[in-house]
Amino acid sequence: MFNKIPQNVKIIINSVFPMLAVLILFAFAGRFGVDKISEMRTKMQTLQNNINALSSKLTILEAVSSSQSQTNVVLSALPSRNSSIVVVSQLKILAGEQGVTITNIKGGAEIKDPNGLSRVDITFDALGARPQIMAFAGSIGGIAPLTLLDKIKINESGGGVRANISVKSYWSELPKSLPSITDQVGTFSNEEKDTITEIAKLTQPLFIELPASDTGGKSEPFN
C-alpha cells in the first residue's frame, strides 16, 4: 500500500511526521505533566498550611497554663446542669451568715433565656432587720453559680422587715465536641483572664460539679 504513495509525498511525510509526533506528545504529556505538577503543588501547599496551623496550635497548647482550679471555678460559676439546688443552698448559707431568715423558696421550671443559656427563676422571702436584708440582697451577686437579682420588694411594718426577692440563676450545657485538629485554639485575652480572676472571687458552693477529664475516645468529651 505504501509503495503506491508517490516518492515526493513520502519525503514530505518523513520530514513532517516526527515534528507532528513530537507536537502531539507535547500536547498530551505536557498537559499531564502540568496537571500533575499543579496537583503536587496544591497537595504540598495544603500540607504546609496544615503543618503551620498544627505547629501554632501545639505551641499554644504547650504554652497555655489552664489549671484544674480555673476549670472548677468556671464550672461552679456556670454549671452544666440546673443550678437551682446549689443556688438555694448558697442563699441559705449566705442568709445564715447575714442573720437573715429565708422562707417560701420557690424555683420555677427551666427557661430558655434570650442569650441562649438556660435559667431558673427563684423567689423567696427574707426576714430580718433592714440593714441585714440590704446586705444579704447586695451579696447575692457574689455567689457561685452566677445569680442575678431580678426584683426586690421590701416591706417594713412594726419593726419587722420582710423582703420578697426574685433571682435568676443560669446554666448551660457543656460543648459537645472538640474542634477539628487543625482548628486553632485561642489564647486567653486579658479580658478573659480578668473574668477568671473576678469569678474566682465568688463564694464557691460546698459541692461542685466534677470537671471534664481525659475522655479516652468518648464521643462527647465533656460529658
Binding site: P18, G30, I37, S66, Q70, T215, P221
Partner: protein
Amino acid sequence: MAVKLNLLPQGAAVSGSLGKTLKSIKSFGIIALGMFLFFILGVSGFLVYSSISLKGLTIQEESLKARIKSQETTEQKIVLLKDRLTKISKVQSTPSVQKSLDKAGGVVASLPAGAVLTELGLDLKKTDMSLIFRSSLDLNSFLGFVKTSGEFKRVSLTAFNFNPLSGYSIGLRFFDN
C-alpha cells in the same frame, strides 16, 4: 567544481524551496524532540522531588497531630474555659437590679433618724420607695439629699400625704435612665 547529481526520477523529487522547508521542519522536529525529552526529564525530576517532599511533610504532619493528641486534655480545658467564659460574659451583661440596690442603699442610708421606710421595691425599670417623715424638716433634708446626690437620672414624686398623727407620707419613683 562540484557536480549536482539527482539520481531520483524527476517525478519523485521535491522542488528546491519545498526541500529546504522540509529540511527545516525536520531540524525543528529534532530540536522539539530534544526539548520534549528535556521537559519529560524535568517533570519527572520535579515529581520525584515532590513525592519525597510530600512524604516528609506527611510524616511531619502526623507527628504534630500525635503531639496535639497527647495535649487533648489541655485542649479540652481551653475549649471548656473559652465556652464558659463566653457564656459567663453574657450573664454578666444581663441587666440586674444590683446597681439600683446599691444606689437605693445610699438613699436609704441618708434617711434622717425619725424617717421610716415602709416600702422599697426594685425592678429592672424603676425603684419605688414609700417613706414617712415625722417633720417637714426631715422631709426637706431628705429631698435635698435626693436632689443633690445625682444617683438617679429621674425622680418622680408618686404620692404625698399628710397625717397629723404620723406625719408626711411620700412615694418616690427613681429611674436609672
